[in-house]
Amino acid sequence: MRVLYFAWVRQKVGVAEEDVSPPAEVRDVAALVGWLATRTPGHAAAFADPKQLRAAVNQDFATPDHPVAANDEVAFFPPVTGG
């Protein structure tokens, strides 16, 4: 699974993207957040308050209950501020 980070989420995690292999019980975005948070202190800081985060699965906005699978591209970022 490819995971991408943007804006301050990327800065806290310390990398822009990584390939991860979460355990089989990680089936949705919320569970992935919980698992990623245990990887490094940077991940823990980035995922400390999931309410501040937004997610996309395969480049579409996704809610915490959205399923994730091994070949997905999952991105985490703050609420968008373009325009």
Binding site: A7, P78, P79, V80, G83
Partner: protein
Amino acid sequence: MARVLVQDAPFDIAAETAALTAGRTDVGGVGSFLGVCRADDGLAALVLEHYPGMTERAIGRIVDQAQARWPLTGCTVIHRVGRILPGEGIVLVLTASAHRAAALEACAFLIDWLKTSAPFWKREEFAAGTHRWVAARAEDDAATARWTQDAAAAGRAKA
């Protein structure tokens, strides 16, 4: 029919506007929105980051919705990324139609949705060397929600 660009370079409003009317006689008006970088609180520059791939997809989807909702003859959305200085353009939305109401409403719809539904993030750089990420604004969500309420009201009116 729609021209969607995400680019580092500045854009040329006059050239983009001319392109929407070139060679056609059915355009009665062009609506436009130009977002400009303001220098609040001693801001030296804005640095815009985006999610390549998803950005173009998200903007394309918003443009499709605008074209389904209003009779546009053409539409241009250009969003800059990278470092932008105060006074420079950040985003350009142009909408062409036979009549002004469609052009102006579609233009407002597009910029409201772009602000809340396209994956861009702004970081402010200050003269002192500090920087901060811009926080999302509740007013922007409210401006976008207005369009779904309008659609719901229009649906009820037709029923």
